[in-house]
Symmetry: D2
Subunit: 277 residues, 4 copies
């Protein structure tokens, strides 16, 4: 095609390329979900429909983009983990974050009616998400990242469970509930929930307490001919095209498993090779 004399403005486009061989985490956050959840009358402290919809959208994104090996979600956020050797979009940051945010939004909206059949979306307040990419050079940091998000889930959920019990069952105002919880630690809150409201926090739904971990279970996707041990290869050694296609196929076939369990302790990480191969 012919080119115009204005073409030179392309030279101003600068791609931010993420460093090779780091774990990339792309975290999506709901925009203005405080207002959004009020507008669509989300149940307090947790709305199982809203969490289900988040998980559905994340699941669909993982199905579509096979480079995602795992994802962790809680509240209105979702973190997607890409393999160290991932080359999706040549590791261009803007392309990664915009595509993830857009595609997730599309699924979230598409499945809205399935999860909120009585609450149609209206044009004045549509769901949207921003995204950021973070790089972690080692597995330890990736583990600590996911642990950070789950610890955050725990801290927030214990607080919110107590806060809304005081309001919904204890008849306190939001102000009073906030005051009641000031200075309390975890065991104070556990005690309060149990003694005043008969709630054993540990019996709360794990999806509330632990969030949701999605993993692409490559163990179950193993083909007849196992992959050769890759440990000693160079980090970025090119694979043959055929090898790459075979791996892509395995990733597409692999089952995506949903977990609501502890991802901080060793148990989860002892088996991480099956999704973080």
């Amino acid at each position: 095609m012919a080119k115009s004399r204005f073409e030179y403005v392309r030279t101003y486009e600068q791609d931010q390329i993420l460093l090779p061989n780091t774990y990339i985490v792309i975290r999506l956050d709901g925009r203005g979900f405080h207002k959004f959840s009020a507008h669509y009358k989300f149940t307090k402290p947790n709305d199982i429909r809203a969490l289900g919809l988040m998980n559905k959208a994340a699941f669909c994104l993982m199905k579509q983009i096979s480079d995602i090996c795992g994802a962790y979600g809680q509240s209105d956020e979702y973190s997607f983990v890409l393999q160290r050797r991932c080359r999706l979009f040549d590791r261009r940051e803007a392309k990664l974050v915009s595509t993830f945010a857009s595609t997730f939004t599309a699924y979230y909206q598409f499945y809205w009616n399935e999860f909120f059949p009585d609450q149609p979306l209206d044009a004045t307040l549509l769901p949207s998400f921003d995204a950021r990419a973070v790089q972690y050079p080692s597995l330890t940091e990736l583990r600590h990242y996911l642990s950070w998000r789950q610890a955050d889930c725990h801290i927030n959920n214990l607080y919110n469970t107590s806060f809304w019990a005081l309001i919904l069952k204890g008849g306190e105002t939001e102000k009073e509930a906030e005051h009641s919880l000031m200075g309390t630690n975890s065991s104070d809150k556990n005690e309060l929930l149990f003694s005043r409201f008969g709630i054993n926090y540990n019996n709360e739904d794990p999806v509330f307490r632990k969030g949701t971990m999605l993993i692409r279970d490559m163990a179950k996707a193993s083909s007849a001919t196992p992959e050769p041990d890759l440990k000693d290869e160079m980090p970025l050694q090119e694979k043959s095209k055929r090898q790459a296609e075979r791996e892509e196929k395995r990733r597409r076939k692999a089952e995506i498993v949903e977990l609501h369990e502890d991802i901080i302790g060793d148990g989860f990480w002892n088996e991480s090779s099956k999704w973080l191969s």
Copy 2:
């Protein structure tokens, strides 16, 4: 709230901040729209419904984000222009591109049924968009950027109009049409359209030939007390909070005007002060 010992992983988050006082253009592109447009049977060479939906989504995004002063769209792409002094999201690149991509997607999907009432979206192929941010230090470059996109619209549309005339009206195969157009210049194609198919290209719908320019017309939004001349102020001088709120209000009230005209020549730019204030 309590913090976990994993909190340190936050220090790995690095924000790419766009330079102050440059024009920021955020361009969205449809992901895989070749396949998408075939799947949903878009009319060739142009589908007025699809362009209408793009314009609707862009209009809604401009309504929601008042920092956008103008936008240009054609085919499956849309470019949004932010003022030099814009501080939206502290000019963080990832936040800007992900939010624009997500929000545009939300509107595009929400209004789909209005533009394609007989063609419901199905889960196997949802619309999504990637985005990039480009910085232009001077008005000349911004003008050249928009000119580049409109020149691109012209070149592509003239080609596509000829290509599909050869197929739909001339009975050629795609291969043959491609061959017929090889080596032709603009006037060859104009001549071909006219002599063989009686089509005067200049009478084609301007939205096809020129694309769509949306401007936030601040001239019509002027309040009784006009803004003082800002020419001599320092580029980043802080405005008082009240000034900022008043300007925000004016931007929200301003009409968004849709144009399908030449944006390369001086005519359009002689009046640019009304939207690029």
Copy 3:
């Protein structure tokens, strides 16, 4: 040449490219010059030898690198201004800052003996400089940048002149002098210098009060055939090779002029076209 299998590590090299068509300022700062100036017994509050050496090194750097169109220095810092359209080192940030820092250091050390004949450098404390690159999209900001540095020179020099007058002529300790100046404004210090020490600050050496501005005076370098007016050309339009060589030649021939005058007011900037063409 043959390549080794380790070559892939090159892909980790990421160049930070400065945006096209912005003014680039590269500012060098002496490393640990508080200690350095004490070690080599610099005169207080200003050492004319040290400033002369800074100016000499800056002059030599401008002679060597013809892309530099101007430079401003004071104390142990020097800022070098590159044209908007400058393409030196493809605008790679690391290459620019490291080369400027290294080359300036080489000249500073080479001419040391000329300015400090009685004070040879010793290996335990050699002069070195760090550097940073800053981008300014408009001429206004470049002007404000240079104004900022000269205002800084003024503020510091007035303080230091007063401080050392109190010590060297007033017999105060450093502590006492610091205390004497606490809360004083400019006119207080002017008054103090005059009334107590008979010093009219405005008669102090301009190199102390105003710092040093070096400009590459292209007006005097103009060839018989004048350059065509470039105002309307595209910012990055390619010049012919011959044009580029001719301009390079003109830049090399141009005289570098040393000024010690006000660079904040309009006077200096009304004539800026001769060096900032």
Copy 4:
């Protein structure tokens, strides 16, 4: 101190921060050393004085900046390795590369007379160096980086040794020598050196064949109370101030050892814990 109204221009300064917990390599390269080495009549194919001076400057830089744990040099280049957890200059890229380039230049020039007593530097051609920073997320990549530079040293030196033997001993012109070596592999060159000039390449000075590796030998610097095992700690866990000072002291006391041996094979890396702790 008072601030001027121009202070806002500081907001345009953007620091590029290197990712935490990656190995940082800063590689310096001589600027225009082809011309420089001809000007100062360096011996061909290797000048032992020039290499000695490079090593001296690198040694001094390591002495001054204790964060450097190792360095590898050959020809007119030197690569400095920083620990993963290094926080020197808050990992600001421009500050790192400019400081390294400047300080290395200062030492190189200062010790010039010691290595080239009969060849004083002249102002028309002073030595200078540029620098770049590269990040490697894993030890494997760092090892491959250093292996790459040593393989490069080997390939170049074998070529240059053959090339200059053909000229200096074989009486060929540069053109002829280039032609003679076209298409030869390593063993061809070894054979040529031996059969035509009686040179056993493996007996050449190791500093030519292997380059120079400097390591900060922490093993010999160990204090009575050994450091606790740090393997399980978080990558960025804060050390107590006392711990940090103690480690700094140990690093300053540690001997810097100069090696001219193979750094590609396992032998060197089996003992890497003593400098890459």
